[in-house]
Subunit: 272 residues, 2 copies
């Protein structure tokens, strides 16, 4: 068994009743709450466990119903809606303390068979200074504790690391596990939700930006090494925003696209 923190903290075991049991670690918190991408990765581990021939989420949508509870057990219940040759569709619910926290809908497949590449269509990775020239994500940036940065080494583009200084709702940089664990599909689910909200680049660290819904499309399994990410909000209206993300591996291959609907409380904005 892997000794890496991420593997330990997303580990799930079958309950024998078609469900999976795990435990939510406080090590991936943003303030008092577990990071949404971390909870998604736990659910992803249960999906993977249940479908060994379709271990990769080609598309997964999570709706966040309630914040997760750190240092508490969790249960993932699931139901296969369609089993096919090349993909299966499944829904799942992550439950803690008797309440549903995450509801998921996913198309699962096998990215291990990926072959033909048509790179002309895919946006190239953005220009990014090397990790050592970027700025580590600061544990104090949101005015809350960020235990997650003790686990993840996140380096932000120097122009985008100081909130509103960027002048646009964009953030990008590098990400990897601090303990040397290499990225995989489940790590990608965490990484797309582990950067500061892109909207901080425009508004400063406005505080909590809770995710309503996060959809991730995975297109390939990542190569070892640093991953490169960029997130941008091009839609901010009535206290809601949409953030788009792209995640490349160390070979420059696009691994995942993400989009999330989140809430943000802006001074003077009408209630969303």
């Amino acid at each position: 068994m892997s000794a890496h923190e991420f593997d330990t903290d997303i580990r799930v075991v079958p309950t024998g009743e078609g469900g999976w049991h795990g435990r939510v670690s406080p090590g991936w918190n943003i303030g008092a709450n577990p990071n949404g991408g971390y909870l998604l990765a736990i659910a992803g581990a249960a999906l993977r466990g249940a479908m060994p021939s379709h271990p990769d989420p080609l598309s997964v949508t999570a709706h966040y119903l309630k914040p997760g509870v750190p240092e508490a057990d969790c249960r993932v219940a699931m139901q296969v809606l369609r089993g096919g040759r090349s993909l299966s569709t499944v829904r799942a619910t992550l439950v803690q303390e008797g309440a549903a926290r995450l509801e998921l809908l996913a198309a699962m497949g096998d990215l291990g068979t990926a072959a033909a590449v048509t790179p002309t269509l895919v946006p190239p990775p953005p220009e990014m200074p090397p990790p050592e020239a970027c700025v580590p994500r600061s544990p104090g940036e949101q005015g809350v504790a960020l235990p997650i940065v003790d686990r993840l080494d996140i380096r932000l583009h120097p122009d985008e690391a100081r909130g509103a200084a960027a002048g646009r709702a964009r953030v990008g940089g590098w990400i990897r596990f601090r303990d040397g664990r290499e990225p995989d599909a489940l790590a990608a689910l965490l990484f797309v939700d582990a950067f500061p909200p892109a909207v901080f680049g425009l508004l400063g660290a406005v505080g909590w930006v809770p995710t309503v819904e996060l959809t991730v499309q995975l297109r390939a399994r990542p190569a070892p090494g640093w991953m490169l990410a960029r997130f941008e909000t091009t839609d901010l209206l009535d206290g809601r925003l949409i953030e788009d993300g792209l995640l490349w591996d160390s070979t420059g291959r696009l691994i995942a696209q993400s989009r999330q609907l989140a809430l943000v409380r802006l001074p003077g904005a009408a209630p969303g």
Copy 2:
């Protein structure tokens, strides 16, 4: 009651057991199958019926499990996962002939209260010749009957109307109901899936491009008149593609964003 075709064809009535009953018309077919956006709009009508205070899908994800059946009854079963002040989360299943066809997860809210606008972040509508200078979507373009174009007036950018001639996986143009019905949130669910697949612009009309998963974020209710849409595929790999869409109303306001994962069989590509 509205005499418009769309309203008649998405009409659902409560069954008295928490579900909704409707009928799938053949009038919105692509070939032998009901259009996926049309099925989504039926489910959207049921969600709206069930949640009068949160009638608008702020974010809805549909996974397409099986093709719908035209000229057959349908039933929409649903379950409210979270009821809140500003939004509710609900899951729903559209069933025909005893089999689930669509599985949905949605965050519902009220876009009627929309107020503050921050237009600087939103991409402006693309340059588009007026509808009379665009090319009507052809009923023969895919080598199959397209009854949907008898109901929808779809005008494509002249450079993007002849398949592979465009040289890139992009299509845009105008859309409205032929019978004068004005657009609303449910129409937007149909419109984001009613254009030819953007990938036709690169590969020609390669045939059926079945949707695996479609997510639509609605941000405002549309004004009357033509709507303007643009769709682009920037990701095509191993028989899967991602298509992004944007939909503006006649005032130039962005109404919806969409993203779908679809399958496409390319000559010479590895099985997806």
